[in-house]
Amino acid sequence: MLAPACIVLLLLFGGAVVGLVRSSLVTLGGAVSLDAWRGLLADPGFADAARFSVQVAVLSTVLAAAAGLVLAGLLRSRGTLPRAVLALPVPVPHLLVATSAVLWLGPGGLADRLLGALPLELIRDHGGLGIVAVYVYKEAPFLALLVLAACGQGLQAREEAATVLGATPWQRLRWVTWPAIRGPLLVGSIIVCAYAAGAFEVPLLVGPNSPPTLATFAFEATKTDVIAGQGTAAAALTLLSLFAIAIAALAVRFARDVEGA
């Protein structure tokens, strides 16, 4: 019964991974070569792009998780309407949030008109603050909804029991609430981090021209050199995929250690 889904995924996703690695190792003439990898690792633009991608992904994830926790805390005891409002950005494509960000935060945008000149130029900011702002806006509600889903009636009953047994608010948070919400928060954060590291429609719209993110770097490589660029892009994307998988593996390992402690 599992076979159809597993075979399709192994063929399509497994095929994509094999195709990506093959693209980075096999030249157009069919010879195996490490040239694409050597070229990539020697390119100072690649190091900048890698650093920038990690910086944007980590900052977006940490800020989105913190904002998500605050939102969940504020809306926990409220009804359906606030949660529906909170859910508003979740199904909206990233590209649309970035489009809206340009409209609001770009030079002469609505924020400028409402508040006078903004103290920071977020769109095309060299530190990637525009990209981070879009990801936090889009992902904080997603993480808040995951946390709120874990805060069901069972948790409330356990919290009340802890209070009756004399737990202080801090002890209740540390020993009852946090263990219930950290799992969904961690899983959500891994997805956010992987997405922020790998997607490129948001950096294309609100990111700086230089440095690019790794995905934008790969995209530009295919544009500037149609033949060799394919291998460079494939090598960069292989490393990016490994980074995302490594982050997920580390997070899961860390979570297991915490559970076992």
């Binding site: 019964m1 599992l2 159809p4 889904a5 597993c6 399709v8 995924l9 192994l10 399509l12 996703f13 095929g15 994509a16 195709g19 990506l20 690695v21 693209s23 939102l71 809306l75 359906t80 309407l81 606030p82 529906a84 409002v85 909170l86 859910a87 508003l88 950005p89 199904p91 909206v92 494509p93 590209l95 649309l96 970035a98 489009t99 809206s100 340009v102 409209l103 609001w104 002469g108 609505l110 400028d112 008109r113 409402l114 997805i191 992987a194 790998g198 997607a199 490129f200 429609e201 294309l204 719209l205 995905a215 790969a218 995209f219 892009a233 494939a234 994307l237 990016l240 995929s241 995302a244």
Partner: protein, 253 residues
């Protein structure tokens, strides 16, 4: 009726205003700074967005790819979701790892890797290629959402159907599908949305057959009004998804 609190109103403004501004921008023929409202309203955005040859085929490609991917994903995911949802597997971890991988690996990487094979198969730039590439990204979401609907309750209902003499097809038609309807609707909607939002995958496997997001992006810098107009089209399924979610939240358990 209780009045909404300041927190709720602030959350509402924070999350609704940015998207609402897209509606105003789409119908603002002239909107020069520092004015807060447009100087002239009109439909120039529609004319500009659809003036080229790209927008309508892109809209059709996005709708067709989304519908085909969703249908295929539901059919393929159903048996796997059933096994995983009923916890019939002793060691489900490898299957869940396989399902998690496409959520972690960048969509552009999946697209570029598939292009390597699609070129040989002659499906690059075709509708079939787009659907297959989207399926690689959509299928894990479909399985993970659908499995939450299966469990002892559905099994119990099906047993009752069997005892009442219903055939396999009749049980599926009259028992399983109606009982799973909310989960099925959510899985279908999210699967469609994931396909609808794909940018990197589509750009890699079918640059010659652009989808709506691929056509929309260059407009953002070149013609913000046309970009906002296309954004409203792009937003429509998300609004439907949200309305459906609110309805599901309000429905009695």
């Amino acid at each position: 009726m209780r009045r909404p609190s300041a927190v709720v109103v602030a959350t509402g403004v924070l999350f609704a205003a940015p998207l609402a501004a897209l509606v105003v921008r789409a119908f603002a023929d002239v909107w020069r700074a520092p004015a807060l409202l447009p100087q002239r309203w009109g439909g120039r955005g529609f004319e500009a967005a659809f003036a080229g040859d790209d927008a309508i085929p892109a809209l059709v490609a996005s709708l067709g790819t989304g519908a085909a991917t969703t249908t295929l994903a539901l059919v393929i995911a159903w048996p796997a979701a059933r096994v995983l949802g009923e916890r019939r597997l002793h060691h489900p971890a490898p299957v869940f790892m396989l399902l998690a991988m496409p959520l972690l690996v960048p969509p552009y990487a999946v697209g570029l890797g598939l292009t390597e094979w699609f070129l040989r198969l002659g499906v690059t730039g075709t509708a079939a290629g787009l659907v297959l590439a989207h399926l690689a990204v959509v299928l894990p979401y479909t399985v993970l959402l659908l499995l939450s609907g299966f469990g002892p309750e559905i099994r119990g209902l099906e047993e009752m159907g069997r005892a009442a003499g219903l055939s396999g097809a009749e049980r599926l038609r009259w028992v399983t599908v109606p009982a799973l309807r909310p989960t099925l609707a959510t899985a279908a909607l999210v699967s469609f949305l994931v396909s609808w939002s794909q940018y990197g995958t589509s750009l890699a496997v079918a640059p010659e057959q652009p989808t709506l997001p691929v056509v929309l992006l260059p407009f953002v810098g070149a013609d913000p009004q046309a970009a906002a107009t296309l954004s409203l089209l792009f937003l429509a399924p998300a609004v439907l998804a949200l309305l459906a979610a609110v309805r599901a939240m309000k429905a009695p358990a």
